[in-house]
Amino acid sequence: MTGTLAAIGAGLAVIGAGIGIGNIGSSAMEAIARQPEAVGDIRANMILTAALIEGAAVIAIILSFVL
């Protein structure tokens, strides 16, 4: 049972990450469409923010393994 709960917990965490990163991606696309010359800056910031959100999701996944 604990194994299933861990899997459910990890899945829930990934939902949050998915929504967050989807938001970042969409706003990044919009920003690039508005100002194509800023592609480099926008891409770097998008990857950075995505990694931060992924960090939270990965922490949740690792905790669901541990506990």
Partner: protein, 472 residues
Amino acid sequence: MGKFSFLTAIFLLVFSLTYAQHNHDHDHSGHDHSGHDHSGHDHSGHDHGKKERKVLKRNSKKLQEQRAAQSGHNHAGHDHTGHDHGHGHTNACGLAGDDHSTFNPGKVAFHHISDQNIFSIGPFSLPLPCIVKDPNGWHFFSSGKFKADAHGNSHYAYKGYVLYEGSLRRVKDASFPKEKVELHHGDITSQLENVDGIPKPADVVSVCYQNKAYKAENKSTFDGGMFGGRMTGFYDFSITKNVASMFIVFAILAFILLRTAKSYKTRQGKAPSGVQSLIEPIFVFMQDEVCKPFLGHAWEKFTPFLMSLFFFILGLNLFGQVPFFGGSNVTGNLSFTMVLALIATIVVFFNGNADYWKHIFWMPGLPAWVKVIITPVEIVGNFILKPATLMLRLFGNMAAGHIVIVIFIGLIFLFGKNGANTMGAAGASVASVLLSLFMMALELLVAFIQAFVFTILTASYIGAATEEHHAH
């Protein structure tokens, strides 16, 4: 001169702190089946416990007798189709060994991301030096003394130490012989037991010698047992696989980066060529995107530290991706990332100006009652959360990537039922290879991204600590 000594200081600090700590990974009795050939294993002559294998080999008559005597011994109810060993041999102490018949992906995955005292290159294992301090004093020996088998379980016990699945364990009992003694297959086992202070039953390794089961201590740790390590009686300063990988990556990086620096001096004014063309885009990218924007006026002071951090993490991430060469997992190791996060935090604290500390403890520009609420939040955030997230983000990303790849490769064993079903294994290997290729490509991307994110966050924290006063 200044930059070089800074670099060496950072590297030495990382090595010395990681030396004293050991990994906190879960100690599951994982099983590596990659080298272990079960086909053609004959059970009728398989001795259990004390019956010397040497005696059996020399004397075939005795072999016949023992075969007859053993027909009912410990094999009742065991299914021997194919190579199935049944539910674990029980050794002379009555402790069941690991079950070889089913593949346990979780345990194998955790075993592969754990630190070991052997450096395995393909099918060969390179023994690494063991440096331990226990109540009897300091010991220096090579892990080759243990003559570990394919699973990493040692064939000999030396000075009261055994090798269980590649990592050093010490037998608690002082009555265990201190000289080199021979053990038999299945003498080192691990059982799930309830240990004081740990909520879940933990794996406890036992060594069976002369019909007596001796409990072995867990791997030496510095954390006092937070992650199942448990305080042990010996301090392990061995050159383990992770430490050896760090040395290798350090050597590679030093070679590349020093050559780049030298060629900049000798080719001043000329276009970059050779290794400069490799390093320059990365270096200039990091300098322009990370160091200058975040550090402001003091960017030159911290650039060496941030660059060392970036290249070291990147090098270790990529080194962990190389298959068969050790399969090292340094950045996916909680103690290593903890040391990195601690170093970053120490750098931030030592360079924080009065403004920074004031912002944490008594943030200006807010009404007093809000400040009282904000202060504990800031303290927890700066002292605990920021280092913890730095540590866990890098650890989680790299460890999860390694676990997934090991599990994808383990699909072959799972579908092949550990060798019983060749067609299943063949089918699964097609899918497994494709999945593993995809995961490894993704892991290359993640390696760069995680090194970049760690560096940029450290730069942002340092920048916040050294920011000049601006009016609120």
